[in-house]
Symmetry: C2
Subunit: 180 residues, 2 copies
């Protein structure tokens, strides 16, 4: 399927409100527990999404537009949120994510990208050549991979509670963990 | 972890608004496509959640309270939504889900279930003996398994679009499909 920028933006613009509706003031049983050593809680995931809004998506769009393949993207720090989220509440993180996403989508809109620009190429430090279109599609799919992760982290907290039903619940059989 | 009814209710009460925020008026690329033969679209999943509100969760609570283990739960029709969702829009389904969930949570609250009742046993047609506590925990985990599924169905629509990034996106490696 071809990538349509308006479909990507439609999803990107909805994620903050969806997370807000799902997570705000939810008991900490759901939001502060993780899946075991070296895994993330829901709180960590929201911090990671914020870090991406600041350091990943729009900065990489700008790198492609300014440098093409001549300059690789800066690597992304997958544990930055442990530092950056300290002392904040989940409500503060959700608000910060919404604010940054809104600002980034306004900047994206102002670029008024056409087909020709979407085909521009950049260089990912690990993956090699990628296109601007692929970067933008990945921004949306990255929201989905973390919504997928959030639902799995939360479901794990009820693995014992559901008793024999655990075998019927697909989320408890998920092996779709993000690469480290 | 022990099952806490108030944690379960906190999650159950948020799911309709989260789905509304994520899905309302989203392009049909995201909501009407499925993952291949004999799989569901997001539209199908919301129909399935509605069917559960009508026919699964609170009716099974009542079966346990009235009959204990002497009467098995009615089996659940996993394809009922194909019939029941016909001619409706996703917006109508989201509203119907929210209305039914709200009504069911009011009925649950009115039961004022205590520890003793949560330990009551019922009989699942496939799983055998289960407790009322496990049934209620499963209601919440079932929301999560379908949020997990929705994020995966949507991400699949971008499998090609993300190009080489597909290997970094955990959701595209998910093998956590619900049992048929």
């Amino acid at each position: 399927m071809e990538h349509h920028l308006e479909h990507t933006v439609a999803l990107l613009s909805r994620t903050p409100a969806a997370l807000h509706a799902l997570l705000l003031e939810l008991p900490e049983t759901w939001t502060l527990r993780n899946e075991g050593e070296n895994t993330w809680s829901v709180f960590d995931v929201v911090g990671h999404l914020i870090h991406g809004e600041r350091n990943d998506w729009m900065p990489r769009v700008q790198t492609i537009l300014q440098f093409g393949e001549t300059r690789a993207f800066d690597p992304f720090d997958r544990w930055a949120q442990q530092r950056e989220s300290q002392g904040k509440s989940l409500g503060q993180l959700l608000d910060e994510f919404a604010r940054l996403r809104s600002k980034n989508l306004a900047e994206l809109d102002a670029l008024d990208l056409g087909r020709e620009q979407l085909d521009l190429r950049g260089r990912h430090p690990g993956l090699g050549t990628v296109t601007l279109s692929q970067l933008l599609a990945t921004w949306a799919a990255h929201d989905l991979t973390h919504l997928h992760q959030i639902s799995r982290i939360m479901a794990q907290q009820y693995r014992e509670g559901v008793g024999p039903w655990s075998r019927y619940l697909g989320v408890l059989q998920c092996a779709g963990h993000s690469a480290p």
